[in-house]
């Protein structure tokens, strides 16, 4: 974590140095996170709470599985005809008075937003929590252009003021506990606006109150807001933002200009489709029957809210995902984060280990597709899972995450096989030889029997050097018995059969 350097004269708190894509591979990041007992305790508590809420409120819906199937089908329909629906969306938006922009990549999207803010003569924007703007690193692009971007979601505020990175899609500060939040607010708020009150305690209600006071002046004076969208309705041009705190409503309502940065896969065909997604999303994400606030707006409404409305439709790798029919289901994601909350790996290591704005199981299938598998971190993400399958069970749009992880592992393995000689492909080739024919396997079993004989009465092996060390550092390894089942069967049963 870096500390703000006054000489740099930044407008907003500096994020940590380094890039996500430059992070080491997942196992190394995970090891570092596992060493942080505070983090593990925060995560265990938080994911446990939200899992229990989700389970209770999903159980209330008799037709939950039918809803999941409907959502899967609606998203598949949209993705398989995305060009048609995007053109319809564009036309609907324009008819409703919005200006539509298209961006091939992050750089182009950022350039469009910076241009729009400058055209308004504004030097700051208020932001609704948005994964798309995190993905394109809009805040830093605005900062470089001399425009301050203020995050207004409480958790995003904690992350921004904490010079930190989000570690969860829904609750970006899930890795922080109340006393850490209090310390961040006391240390940072006064540098960027209304200070935290002297009487601040670490009660969540008190901390939320401090955020309300800190942000209110920003909401009231902001001329430009930047949002994402949970859904964009092709039929009507309606955009939807699902939120809890009302910071979204503030940003979508009070400023004169509203710029929404929307991934092209957020499109839904019809307004009626919302009945499916508005039932699935809140229960899957916060574990509530309904989130406190959902805002829907259709272009410009005279006399109500922003009169200058822009929508930036962003590709940034999504068409690459779309091009692989087996990777395509990742674009169904509605960013609920149920897969993070249920994932036993995420629960142990948190979001930072994934080196991506999309952590957890969905990040492990989406990020290597969006960014490619060139970097160490992206090559390791498909392996950051035990394939336990819990993520698929809770996914409201039925993304087959375990199967997709295996599919991506195949891509990584292919790349490894074609690259310089490595241990893993050699081991796999040897194993393949052993298991392709039982006579080969019997030869290998003979070796195991010799080892067992040599070891005599030893039943378990303790700590061993490499290559057994990764297993035996913490786990004993049972010795193979002297007689395999195959040998026993031959000796005792084969004659009977004949």
């Amino acid at each position: 974590m870096t500390v703000t350097d006054p000489a740099a004269r930044r407008l907003t708190p500096a994020p940590p140095s380094g890039t996500l894509i430059g992070m080491p591979a997942f196992p190394a990041n995970a090891r570092a996170q596992l060493d942080n007992p505070q983090l593990r305790s925060n995560l265990r508590k938080a994911t446990g709470t939200i899992r229990a809420k989700r389970t209770a409120h999903v159980a209330e819906v008799a037709e939950w599985e039918d809803l999941r199937l409907a959502a899967e089908a609606i998203k598949n329909r949209t993705l398989r005809h995305l060009d048609t629906y995007l053109m319809q969306l564009e036309e609907s938006l324009q008819r409703a008075g919005a200006t539509v922009h298209w961006a091939r990549d992050a750089e182009e999207a950022n350039r469009i937003v910076v241009g729009l803010v400058r055209a308004k003569g504004a030097d700051e924007v208020v932001k609704v929590k948005s994964m798309a703007t995190q993905e394109i690193e809009l805040n830093e692009a605005l900062e470089e252009a001399g425009i301050a971007a203020w995050e207004t979601d409480l958790a995003e505020l904690i992350v921004q003021l904490g010079h930190d990175r989000p570690s969860h899609i829904l609750v970006p500060a899930i890795h922080r506990n109340r006393s850490e939040v209090k310390e961040i607010f006391e240390r940072e708020m006064h540098q960027y606006g209304t200070p935290a009150p002297d009487t601040l305690t670490d009660e969540p209600a008190d901390l939320a109150g401090a955020a309300r006071r800190h942000l209110r002046e920003k909401f009231l004076r902001a001329k430009v807001a930047v949002s994402g969208a949970n859904f964009a309705i092709a039929e009507t041009g309606t955009l939807v933002v699902v939120e809890s705190e009302g910071n979204g409503r503030m940003c979508l309502t009070l400023p004169e200009t509203l710029i929404s940065v929307v991934g092209i896969e957020k499109t839904l065909p019809t307004f009626a489709d919302l009945e499916v997604f508005l039932r699935l999303l809140p229960r899957s994400s916060t574990g509530e029957r309904m989130n406190p606030y959902t805002s829907m707006w259709t272009g410009v409404t005279p006399g109500d809210g922003p009169q200058d409305v822009h929508v930036v439709l962003v590709d940034n790798g999504r068409t690459k995902v779309l091009a692989d029919p087996e990777g395509r289901p990742a674009l169904r994601c509605i960013r609920c984060s149920a897969c993070l909350n249920i994932c036993p790996v995420y629960e142990r290591v948190g979001g930072h280990a994934y080196g991506s704005v999309y952590p957890g199981p969905i990040g492990a299938v989406l990020t290597p597709q969006l960014r490619g598998i060139g970097s160490d971190i992206d090559k390791s993400l498909p392996y950051a899972s035990t394939l336990c399958g819990a993520c698929f069970e809770v996914c409201p749009v039925r993304i087959p995450i375990p199967d997709m992880l295996v599919h991506l592992r195949h891509k990584v393995a292919d790349k490894k096989r074609r690259g310089r000689p490595r241990l893993e492909p050699t081991v796999m080739a040897a194993g393949s030889w052993a298991f392709s024919d039982h006579t080969h396997l019997e030869k290998v079993e003979g070796l195991a029997r010799i080892a067992a004989t040599v070891m005599g009465r030893t039943t378990h092996l303790g700590p061993l050097p490499w290559p057994a060390a990764p297993w035996t550092n913490a786990r004993d390894l049972p010795m193979p018995p002297r007689e395999s089942f195959r040998a026993w069967w031959k000796k005792n049963r084969s004659e009977e059969e004949q």
């Binding site: 709470t49 598949n76 398989r80 298209w102 091939r104 209110r216 039932r279 805002s295 829907m296 109500d304």
Partner: protein
């Protein structure tokens, strides 16, 4: 080449495997839209679920609405409210009768003026029983969105005929009403669970939500 043409071109190439032109024929959606969710009593469910979110809920006969409004506002310690232009005259009169200062929104109040007003009184468009949700379509009896956002107390009157069982029926009603009005779905007061997943009522939106269900 424009970004639009390029992105659409990429999509076309990515979907080379899709040969059926009609999206509906290509991917059937086996879902029946707009069905009600069965429940014993829609109004009771609405009242209970709305109260679940720490909203204050009163069920009263339509004739008692003005008196209930006055009582709730006084009880909440509200000394000034803004009312939308189309609010029922009897409700507005009741607020004035309770000694609460009433502001109209014509010409529109500035953000700062709104920020100095304690509360807002509005009607609603739809109530959703299963989720305890109130939907505003920001018609004349509800006003523009800022009115129900900036003041800290929102008193909303929902009439029995507006309450439906669940989200599908609500989407149908709002879709039929159609048009391009903004919609705000409200389920309880503003809340956050961002700190240790512990729910706190009251962040940026109105921290007090008072609901009158008129039967």
């Amino acid at each position: 080449m424009s970004a639009r043409a390029e992105v659409l071109g990429r999509i076309g190439r990515a979907l080379a495997d899709v040969t059926t032109v009609d999206p509906v024929a290509d991917v059937p959606v086996g879902w029946q839209y707009g069905r009600p969710t069965p429940m014993p009593d829609v109004l009771t469910q609405f009242a209970e679920r709305t109260a679940d979110y720490k909203a204050t809920v009163r069920r009263v006969p339509a004739a008692d609405v003005p008196a209930t409004i006055a009582e709730l506002l006084t009880g909440a310690g509200v000394s000034s409210v803004v009312v939308p232009s189309g609010l029922e005259a009897a409700w507005r009169a009741a607020v004035e009768g309770a000694g609460v200062v009433v502001h109209g929104d014509e010409p529109p109040l500035s953000h700062e003026e709104l920020n100095r007003i304690d509360g807002v009184v509005t009607a609603a468009a739809v109530g959703v029983a299963e989720t305890g949700t109130i939907v505003l379509d920001h018609g004349p009896d509800q006003g523009r969105r800022a009115l129900t956002l900036v003041p800290d107390t929102h008193l909303v009157v929902v009439t029995a005929s507006q309450v439906v069982s669940d989200v599908p029926e609500a989407v149908v009603r709002l879709g039929v009403a159609g048009g391009s009005n903004p919609l705000t779905w409200i389920s309880g007061p503003s809340a956050t669970s961002d700190i240790e997943l512990s729910r706190v009522e009251g962040v940026h939106g109105p921290r007090t939500l008072l609901v009158v269900l008129a039967e």
